[in-house]
Homo-oligomer: 353 residues x 2
Amino acid sequence: MAQHKGQQRRSSIHDVASHAGVSAATVSKVLAGVTTVKPENAQRVLDAVERLGYRVDPLASDMRRAKRRIIGAIMPEFESEFFGQMVTELEGLAEQRGYTLVAASSRESEAREKEILARMHDWRVAGVVLAPVRNEHGPAADFMKANGMTGVLIDRVLSDDAFDTVSADSAAASAEVARMLVGKGHSHILVIGLAEQAATVRARLEGFRSQALALNPSVRIDVITSEVSVEPLRSSLRDYFGQGERPTAVYSLLLKGTLVALSEFRRRGWHCPDDISLVGFDDAEWMQVTWPAIAAVVQPVRRIASEAMNLLFRRVEGAVGPPTARLEPCQVLERESVGSPGSGPHSGGGDRQ
Amino acid sequence: MAQHKGQQRRSSIHDVASHAGVSAATVSKVLAGVTTVKPENAQRVLDAVERLGYRVDPLASDMRRAKRRIIGAIMPEFESEFFGQMVTELEGLAEQRGYTLVAASSRESEAREKEILARMHDWRVAGVVLAPVRNEHGPAADFMKANGMTGVLIDRVLSDDAFDTVSADSAAASAEVARMLVGKGHSHILVIGLAEQAATVRARLEGFRSQALALNPSVRIDVITSEVSVEPLRSSLRDYFGQGERPTAVYSLLLKGTLVALSEFRRRGWHCPDDISLVGFDDAEWMQVTWPAIAAVVQPVRRIASEAMNLLFRRVEGAVGPPTARLEPCQVLERESVGSPGSGPHSGGGDRQ
DNA sequence: TGTAACCGATAAATCGATTTTTCACTGTTG
DNA sequence: CAACAGTGAAAAATCGATTTATCGGTTACA
């Protein structure tokens, strides 16, 4: 009984043509805005379109085009605010230009990334916005190059010799975090991250380290990274603290690391910022309502998205020239999780503050 | 200089045909697995496919089909874990069946929801998974009905007379929350929510209320809802507490409400669970690392996604019959944010208990 | 006066696959 | 030996739009 009616096939351009008493070509021209159509005929076409509720079939319309009006977007995941916002923005921007966005998640797998790309190539997408799992030198970028695809790389990239890139200026933001922490007197800081995202993580680490050392040459910076997933990071962190290491601040280079650090603090009964300070790369809505609010680096998602789309469409429209590498500035939000070392009431654990 | 090479147009079925010395029809049949092709010719076709790296153009392939192998997904937003996971799951399931998923965000707007749906109809998608902004009676569902589209409604729906629906069993989960809170001795509970999502919010509220009253007829349940956005909710909550109301527990019917409650607690210096208990509908990764961890209702995202796709494809393949309304069970995670009233070391104002 | 440009519109080709129709050829049977 | 059934494959139609070639009829220009 359900949904069995309304199966009437939709009217095609030929239906419009016969209703208006003209040929299909004329209809196509009227709808494309060609001016060499007699006004009277144009009006009859528009009337027929109106009467039949005709809408162009984008699939048929794209058939002859070498580049279809489709943009592919490949993200490592959809579950985080960052990539969620990114997809929302990209979709809106594609739509504005009359394109359809097809988004897919590589689920942090380079193999899958390449498969998705191959499928998008099958669709002959006009362009691709790729947020690579690792960096700009992965198999996916190679595939794009080998097949002459048009694309922009974003987020976990620095620059590329074939594609335009857009990412947050991690190094500058990390330097600002360094100024903040060292400025407050921290002289033993732990940095945690995932090394697999080589390009950006290294930029963040170096940006932080060089600025911190410039401000205080005797600052001690420990680094804990894990190659693949976040779980090894958790156990490394546990070991590190278990050995009695007590940095006065932690800078996490990625969102999940911030969660890991928080949960480890919690396990030990340490409180921010009295027992230890915390800053995380990447902001999230919950960070301002936790107790205390977590200081964070906010990435300019909208700017990254719009710059990426601008660059992409420039290429789609045939622009040539060397690829550009854009770095968009981040914002560092200093919140309550950052204090001066040893300034808090500092008892040991338990429920307080 | 960038990306100017490799513009070689891809080989079509005709290229394969001529390389294999057969007709295009034969190539199509071989690739479709038709057995009436002489093995020798089939092999030559496969060789040519291999040599040319030929892949079927899904767009051209879909041209003649009334229903294209495309599934549309419309979500109210992409920024939350819930819908992020949902899209990831739906995409994987569509891919498994050889379909392409086109996802779009309605950005909590019913008008946009309908526009997106119209565009998907233009694409002649085989089916749509719609998570409506409000409920099953919105303009989008009407549009689908009026145009004979195939679809499944998920999340903020209960049941419909035209479409299959799949959602979390909010009422049962809320009843379980009621058992938990009343069981711990809470007799004055505040429930907060957004009324716009009428269907499910009402189910959650009623599930909670009826169970709570059944267990303790004298329990006092206050309700604060806001019609449109979350900001009015925040100020209502502020007013409510400002008037001296001191419930011993808060149950938030939506994730953003949980954030609002937390931030309001924080503003007042109240701690969970000593000063007040908190349970939220919808889980998030950060909830288990905050101090304290927040008790939450976990929705079965994967089950909702896979049930929705199963039902959808059944309809796509022509199944008829009355629409089904599925309710998938949730899991209630009791975490540290829930305690017994007045049991904390640190009870604040003199609330009843 | 002959050629070219211009008009407005239509017929036809095109895109790349699928599906239906047609056809040539083999082998069987009455 | 003619009628017939069965094979395997090619030819053609189809999907719905866009684009190119073409057409008859004027007007402009050399």
